[in-house]
């Protein structure tokens, strides 16, 4: 199974990340909007990750938990930073 087989998924996620950074830069200094942007990007990361594994029939509970743990970890640390 080569990485190129999943090129579309990687490019989709990469594009989403770039859009996220551009939006964040545009709204820098607006704390609430910044946090909402993080929320959207983290949600996209979790949903996209789970969906990606589901359509490849490789979805396991451990993978789902891994995405959720990492997503929520970033969410809570960023929340502390933005609204500290």
């Amino acid at each position: 199974m080569k990485l190129t087989n999943h090129l579309f998924d990687y490019l989709l996620f990469f594009t989403a990340g770039i859009i996220f950074l551009i939006a964040l830069n545009f709204f820098k200094g607006e704390k609430l909007i910044e946090f909402i942007l993080f929320l959207i990007f983290i949600s996209f990361y979790i949903i996209h990750g789970i969906y990606h594994h589901a359509i490849k029939d490789q979805l396991k509970l451990k993978i789902v938990i891994e995405y959720i743990l990492l997503g929520f970890l970033v969410l809570f640390l960023i929340k502390l930073l933005i609204f500290s």
Binding site: F13, L24, K28, L73, V74, L77, L80, S84
Partner: protein, 297 residues
Amino acid sequence: MKKIVSLITHLFIPHEKNQYQPKAIQLDFLSFYLVLALTLNFGYRLLSHTSLQILGFATDITINKLYQLTNEVRQKYGLLPLRYNKNLEKAAYQKAQDMFQKNYWAHFGPDGTTPWQFILQNGYQYQYAGENLAKNFLFSDGVIDAWMHSQSHRENILKKEYQDVGFAVVNGILNGEETTLVVQMFGSPEQSSLNTPSQKNQIVPPVQAGEKKETTQSPVLAQTEKELPSGKKISLISFNYHLNFVLFILLSIAFISDLYFANRLGLLHLKRKNIFHFLFLSFVILSLLIVKQGKII
């Protein structure tokens, strides 16, 4: 030394003892990080409610650092350093308070209040005056960098006619959001007023930062600021920011390490998720560089 190497190997290199997955990214460790993050959130909120000195939002911006950086920039361009003026500091503080009270973020108030009114009210008769504003930055150097990358603010900082400066860094609620405002006010005293106090009230209309009006008495808009009430917040925000950076970078290293060794063992298909995790963390790390910045006008 051997123990440290063994620990690093255990955390970041997949091998038999860690079930061929770096311990740093195993579920139990990820859960531990999450609990730590939740504890920090809870602890910080608790601290905010129990300590009168901690308001519940903070930056690492200090007047001393802003003043030092401003003069460093001026000296770098061969200009004389500015003197710190308490009257300008009071004017800057009042300007910040006015913005919070009237809920605006601009050089001129919704009722037509000008920055020069605050300067004059505090007994500073100017020949030149200026104001720079910033909000929601995390660090002092970010504020100065942002101003130096904006032509009008840069001209304010590097204006050779200015002799004095005052700052205020003030926390408050603006548009329903916890906000840290930074106001920097420049000025040079009216020459005639130094000799004849009775002529101090002769003022020329102000000019915004960046305007090139060649009038000897034209003020330029700048910002005011006020000291933070607590040194504790400073260390907390700095600690939190760097904690995020270090943690996300270490996690990225662990995911890449796991991916690299999986590739060597021909098990890449089992670790493909690591690419998403790594990409995700990379974007989050980049976003930290943006989040520490705020807005200037």
